[in-house]
């Protein structure tokens, strides 16, 4: 079985290096960072932290080098989905492509180029510390299911989930993967931009009652958009937000979007709050607060 990870950043590397441990899987990685690609081909892809692994795999920045693959796992930042899948789609003409990205709209972008698409949500996290070396910060579950308009066959979704699980990335194949996806989107859309706009850590956002009320306003809108589509969240984002604010969990965590803002990197706001607004519009659900936050972060990006 050939699997190609498209976008071998922190999350993509967790899948690539772990899957490369399996004898029955041949792993490829497509990434535009040439230094990273060269390091992987030379020394293997190393994970340290939550797990210590060196994966031997083939990496390339040239999509034409990719062999026909059974599976793709897209793990780019959301704003790079279209470009990455447009370049790599020929490798998946007989395969299925899963997204494990943040936000809304990735499945739709992939489906413009690929016939069989897997909706996915993943919780493990890490960061690239050097070319070819990723620090694995948090272990977590992954959920895969069909992307309804262009679904991958259930047996194929099972096959990929099984491979990931055997590789040490616990993954469930489900009939409806929208619940976990929307739970994560609502969590991120309601907290990450607040961190980015204020400079506060997750815990400090939550302990300011006025600010926490704004977070709840964003969560309420997100839930309403999910409900309008018949999506049942697999957990209440409010509880997860409060849980994460605990000192022993993620009180001091700077949201990735705050890290992006501090580094003046493009954020995923279009696919978080922007995605919620678009889906809300489609289903007649008003999202004034998410719209406001979206516009503010877009403005922040434009100020750089």
């Amino acid at each position: 079985v050939k699997v190609c990870v498209v976008g071998c950043g922190a999350v993509g590397s967790l899948f690539a290096a772990n899957l490369a441990q399996l004898d029955d899987i041949e792993v490829w990685a497509y990434d535009l960072a040439q230094e990273h690609v060269d390091a992987i081909n030379r020394d293997g892809l190393r994970l340290s932290g939550a797990g210590d692994v060196v994966g031997r795999l083939r990496a390339t920045s040239d999509a034409a080098q990719l062999p026909p693959c059974d599976f793709g796992i897209v793990a780019t930042k959301a704003m790079h989905t279209s470009g990455a899948i447009a370049a790599t789609a020929p490798a998946f003409s007989d395969g299925c492509v899963a997204t494990v990205q943040n936000g809304l709209g990735n499945e739709e972008a992939i489906a413009e180029h690929v016939g069989r698409v897997i909706r996915g949500t993943t919780f493990p996290a890490g960061k690239i510390v050097a070319p070819g070396h990723v620090q694995w910060d948090v272990k977590g579950d992954t959920t895969l299911g069909p992307f309804e308009p262009k679904p991958a066959p259930p047996a194929e979704i099972e096959r990929l989930a099984d491979a990931c699980t055997r590789a040490g990335m616990p993954t469930a194949a489900v009939a409806d993967a929208r619940g976990p996806q929307w739970r994560k989107v609502i969590f991120n859309a309601s907290t990450n931009p607040i961190g980015a706009l204020t400079g506060l850590t997750h815990g400090r956002v939550c302990e300011d009652p006025a600010l926490r009320a704004l977070v709840s306003g964003l969560v309420e809108e997100g839930k309403a958009v999910a409900t309008a589509q018949g999506i049942e969240l697999d957990a209440d984002p409010e509880e997860l937000i409060d849980h994460a604010a605990r000192p022993d969990v993620a009180y001091d965590h700077k949201a990735s979007m705050l890290q992006d803002a501090e580094a003046r990197r493009a954020t995923e706001i279009d696919y978080l709050n922007g995605g919620l607004v678009r889906f809300g519009d489609e289903h007649g659900v008003p999202t004034p607060l998410n719209r406001a936050i979206w516009a503010l972060v877009k403005g922040l990006e434009r100020s750089w």
Binding site: L197, V205, A292, I293, L296, G299
Partner: protein
């Protein structure tokens, strides 16, 4: 009519220098070296006007002689200290003008003395290049109106003095419509600028794409207008039109709230956004967007420490 300008930032410096061409002007500064520099070098104006004025400056109000006209030209965050410096029964013959952004400066001054008060709103702008040099950038007017029992004739007299000094000024029997137009404009534009880091540029009026900032600015202005209507205030100018006009001036203005958050200083958010949100609550009007901006700017201030 001897005048005393309290606070010599860009607005205070513009008042001081222009008034000094027609009357005796005292300047009360926060820093001693600022007062000394003004006494030694005078106050230079460049830009729309070009002259250097003589002023008498001090950093301690006890060193000031009596005056008949006080202009509190500090930031909203400095009004309390300014009023305290003038208070204690001193300067009994003075009429005091406040020209701060937002609402509530008059009440703060009132708590320190029973002077006749004049409400002011100024649209002029300048850039301070040094303690003794201010560039006069926008020669838009200052509007004055009576606060409480202050006779309108007194307000007219003061407006005339400003005009004689070369500034644009107008006395209005009721300043609230102008004050509220500027309140809504400032709450919206300053808040959005502080949060996004954008100067007041064309993004604030852009409404072509779904995620464009102009939609938010428009929504914030509409909320502010609903609050004004509930408060029984008929606006002097439409804040949205003020916004669009200002973004077309060519050079983008850096609102003070943006400069404040970049320098990690306390902002005027309480007297601007806070005042508007409290007015909304008082009149039972929903203002979720203004409330969000208020909370976010407050949180941004909290992030300094």
């Amino acid at each position: 009519m001897r005048a005393c300008i309290v606070g010599a930032g860009s607005i205070g410096s513009l008042f001081a220098a222009h008034l000094a061409t027609v009357t005796d002007v005292l300047v009360l500064t926060r820093r001693d070296e600022h007062a000394r520099a003004l006494n030694e070098k005078g106050l230079r104006v460049s830009g729309r006007h070009d002259f250097t004025a003589r002023v008498t400056a001090a950093s301690d109000a006890r060193d000031l002689p009596d005056f008949e006209l006080g202009i509190v030209a500090t930031k909203a965050t400095g009004v309390e200290a300014a009023a305290e410096a003038l208070g204690g029964g001193r300067f009994p013959g003075a009429t005091i003008i406040t020209v701060q952004n937002g609402l509530g400066a008059e009440e703060i001054v009132r708590a320190h003395g029973d002077w006749p008060l004049v409400s002011g709103v100024t649209f002029m702008s300048g850039t301070k290049h040094s303690d003794t040099h201010v560039e006069y950038i926008l020669d838009t007017p200052t509007w004055l109106g009576p606060y409480g029992e202050t006779p309108f004739a007194r307000v007219q007299e003061i407006a005339q003095l400003l005009v004689d000094g070369g500034l644009k000024a107008e006395a209005l029997p009721d300043l609230l419509p102008a004050q509220w137009s500027k309140l809504i404009f400032n709450a919206t534009v300053n808040g959005v600028a502080a949060l996004t880091g954008l100067p007041h540029d064309e993004h604030f009026a852009k409404e072509s794409e779904l995620g464009d900032l102009g939609h938010l600015v428009h929504g914030l202005v509409d909320e502010g207008k609903r609050v004004a209507a509930a408060a029984g205030v008929e606006l002097h100018d439409d804040p949205w039109e003020m916004n669009v006009l200002a973004t077309k001036r060519g050079s983008a203005h850096y609102p003070s709230m943006l400069e404040d958050v970049e320098a990690r200083r306390p902002t005027e958010v309480e007297l601007i956004n806070g005042a508007l949100v409290r007015e909304a609550e008082r009149h039972g009007v929903e203002a979720p967007l203004q409330t969000a901006v208020y909370r976010l700017v407050k949180a941004r201030e909290a992030s300094y420490s």
